[in-house]
């Protein structure tokens, strides 16, 4: 995948498939330390040790139709660029996956379109997604649970709601502003 954001969407969808109701996504960019990292923490059904060992093998899957390449590709990216990849899981409690990458390595894809990625993640209706983005000293947070609580029975895909969310994400995650503050 040509954007790290797409890997994040993929990992979040793994959490959704594992029945997670609450998913936290933490994205960190630190120019001084030359790192870009992301972590996805969920309260899904988790995995036992045996499955956890296999989950980074290409083509292993716990689901019927899924081609399980997402996690192995990410692990390979981390290992081939001198980064780190860690996945922890406990059956019945959830899973966390963390990737730390050397930002300036030319083989690392860019974070990509974060705003479109956030919009995409907010439209996962069955799970609450909290996205925390930290760049150097600035932190931005968006929480789909709060949005859904405000909306009540009003669907996310109402035109007025879509319009608001796009504007809201663009104002909250204004990367130009984030970069100026650093």
């Amino acid at each position: 995948m040509d954007e790290l954001s797409l890997h994040i969407i993929d990992i979040v969808h793994n959490s959704v498939s594992a029945g997670a109701k609450n998913i936290e996504v933490i994205i960190i960019e630190n120019d001084k330390k030359d790192i870009i990292s992301f972590e996805v923490i969920d309260d899904g059904k988790g995995m036992d040790e045996e499955i956890l060992k296999k989950v980074t093998d290409p083509f292993f899957t716990t689901r019927d139709k899924k081609v399980g390449l997402g996690i192995p590709l990410l692990k390979q990216l981390a290992e081939s660029t001198g980064g780190s990849f860690e996945i922890k899981s406990k059956l019945g409690e959830g899973t966390s996956l963390k990737v730390i990458l050397p930002k300036s390595n030319p083989d690392i894809p860019p974070l990509g379109n974060l705003n479109d990625t956030i919009l995409n993640l907010l439209f996962i209706e069955d799970s609450n997604i909290k996205i925390i983005y930290k760049k150097n000293n600035v932190e931005k947070v968006i929480d789909s649970k709060k949005i859904k609580e405000i909306l009540g029975e009003v669907p996310l895909s109402n035109p007025d709601v879509i319009k608001f969310l796009k504007k809201y994400i663009n104002s909250e995650f204004n990367l130009k502003e984030v970069n100026n503050e650093t």
């Binding site: 689901r63 949005i147 405000i150 009003v154 669907p155 879509i162």
Partner: protein
């Protein structure tokens, strides 16, 4: 811009929903498995959202699902309409998504060249 501003929108939309009894006519389901994402499903979903917003479609809802085992046809999108068979589309680029909105969802004629199958 504050998240609390969303409350005003909720009140307005709730009133509109009350007037048309709140039912969605069409459900758009977008496959967001690994191969779908790699094939551009994020942009497909965004295009559907933009078209819904632009054309003020108030009886359409969007949701996401995982892989459907149709990797070579990704992005895959399912259109579910009340009392009609489900229509499964493949290779749904943003341009195809726009056509599905106009030709299928607004005018009621499926975009046949991108239909993979139908399900009752």
């Amino acid at each position: 811009m504050k998240l609390e501003d969303l409350r005003k929108i909720r009140e307005k939309v709730k009133e509109e929903m009350r007037l048309r009894e709140g039912k969605a006519r069409v459900k758009i389901v977008i496959g967001m498995g690994t191969s779908g994402i790699a094939a551009g499903a994020r942009e497909t979903l965004k295009t559907f959202l933009e078209e819904i917003e632009k054309r003020n479609l108030k009886d359409v809802i969007i949701t996401q699902t995982g892989e459907r085992g149709l990797a070579s046809k990704e992005p895959v999108v399912v259109i579910e309409e009340t009392d009609k068979p489900k229509i499964i589309y493949g290779d749904v680029t943003p341009e195809v998504a726009k056509r599905i909105i106009v030709e299928h969802i607004i005018n009621g004629i499926p975009v046949s060249e991108y239909v993979i199958s139908t399900e009752k």
